[in-house]
Symmetry: C2
Subunit: 249 residues, 2 copies
């Protein structure tokens, strides 16, 4: 067959169907025509129809179910931005090259104030490990860190390594947990006086409080960490990129 215009048939068909969905010919929730119907209507093989539909599926416009049929899921694709954090350790930014200088350790029952900081209800019991994170180079203090580990994983206590591997990672590995989500919260606070000295910072100077909650499956996080960074030594940076099969039009 000679060159048609320029676009492949399945791309043309994909665009046509996307337009029809967008125009409202098929509404969200509606059944979408079957492969055979589209094949007949557009005079293309079922293979080509499937290729086109597959694309719309990946875009989230359609969903298919063997035996049941194809359903319209969305009217149009909204641009979607994602922050990619490969390996997750990147999130902690200074992952390697730092060391945890452990200062305090033990079980705590969290009360009102701390519970609020942790984003958990009061009364829960956690294993708390706190200390100063320092640069390996120069031993310079970077931040104060408090790590709260859910009681059932407290067995890790004596095997925690203060080196390169993040604590949550050690725990996840040891217990076979699958870290499915991490929530991060950043706020500004005044540097607490009792930390100022340790961090070599001025009391009450602006600081970043970073809370990270690590989830494995639904429900409560298995670890929560709180870090206080002096304002002049840290900034959190993220880059969001638009993320969609661009490909041809």
């Amino acid at each position: 067959m000679p060159t048609r215009g320029q676009m492949a048939r399945y791309k043309e068909l994909r665009a046509t169907l996307a337009r029809e969905i967008s125009a409202g010919r098929y509404k969200v929730g509606d059944r979408f025509p079957t492969d055979l119907e589209l094949s007949a209507r557009f005079r293309v093989s079922r293979h080509t129809v499937r290729e086109a539909v597959r694309g719309l599926q990946e875009l989230g416009l359609l969903s298919r179910q063997a035996g049941s049929g194809t359903v319209v899921r969305a009217r149009s694709v909204e641009p979607l931005y994602t922050q990619r954090v490969d390996s997750l350790a990147e999130l902690a930014e200074y992952a390697a090259d730092t060391r945890l200088d452990r200062r305090q350790e033990g079980f705590v029952v969290v009360r009102q104030g701390l519970a609020e900081l942790m984003g958990r209800p009061p009364g829960e019991r956690w294993l708390r490990v706190a200390g100063i994170r320092r640069a390996v180079q120069g031993n310079f203090p970077l931040c104060w860190t408090e790590i709260f580990l859910a009681e059932r994983y407290a067995g890790m206590r004596d095997r925690l390594d203060d080196g390169d591997v993040p604590i949550f990672n050690q725990v996840a590995r040891e217990y076979g947990l699958d870290v499915t989500a991490v929530e991060q919260r950043i706020s500004a606070i005044a540097m607490p006086p009792y930390l100022a000295e340790w961090l070599g910072a001025a009391p009450a100077e602006p600081a970043l409080l970073v809370r990270r909650s690590y989830y494995s499956g639904a429900g409560a996080p298995f670890e929560v960490s709180l870090s206080v960074h002096p304002g002049d030594r840290y900034a959190y940076t993220a880059r969001l990129t638009r993320d969609r099969k661009t490909e041809n039009a």
Copy 2:
């Protein structure tokens, strides 16, 4: 053909090839066998090979190039976390329900200090619009915002709407820009005295400084915004989720 074990051939093949890549039989950067070679080796049709390879491609293990061949791109899939920000306006959190109370406006040539805050070299000329962002409900001041617009797009100046739609969005729409990336930087500063009064905050109290740079294609951002949030009125929250086609094994 009767039921083989249970898995579809292309899935079996996909798993086998993934294993071989992981085991190092094909190294990163190496040429991967041809469709025809695999077809012959595994006694399956080229269609089936392509289906399997397509999967490995989506996983990022392989990349193909018409005329050139298939190349190994990664040895294994590392878990990948993404923050999804649909519609991007979500990023600004209080997107709707707020209003910009414009206070200052005009061209500026940025000097050392401001340039550093903006993450740009000194000497550039930008259109600066600054003001207080308030909650529609109650007119309560939320933050001080400075928006810098690249000179080329300064024509928008008289058409800027202070309502729901973020400025960067208005500009992008007007000039047909494709916002491909947004970089966000969060740091802690002391509330500048001259802003404290306007925001109803205490001078020198901890505040969050949020910088967002909007990119359209490579090169310099077309807009940079700086916002100062009183520490007690704002926290930045993000949720990263693991994100991988689970499907069957």
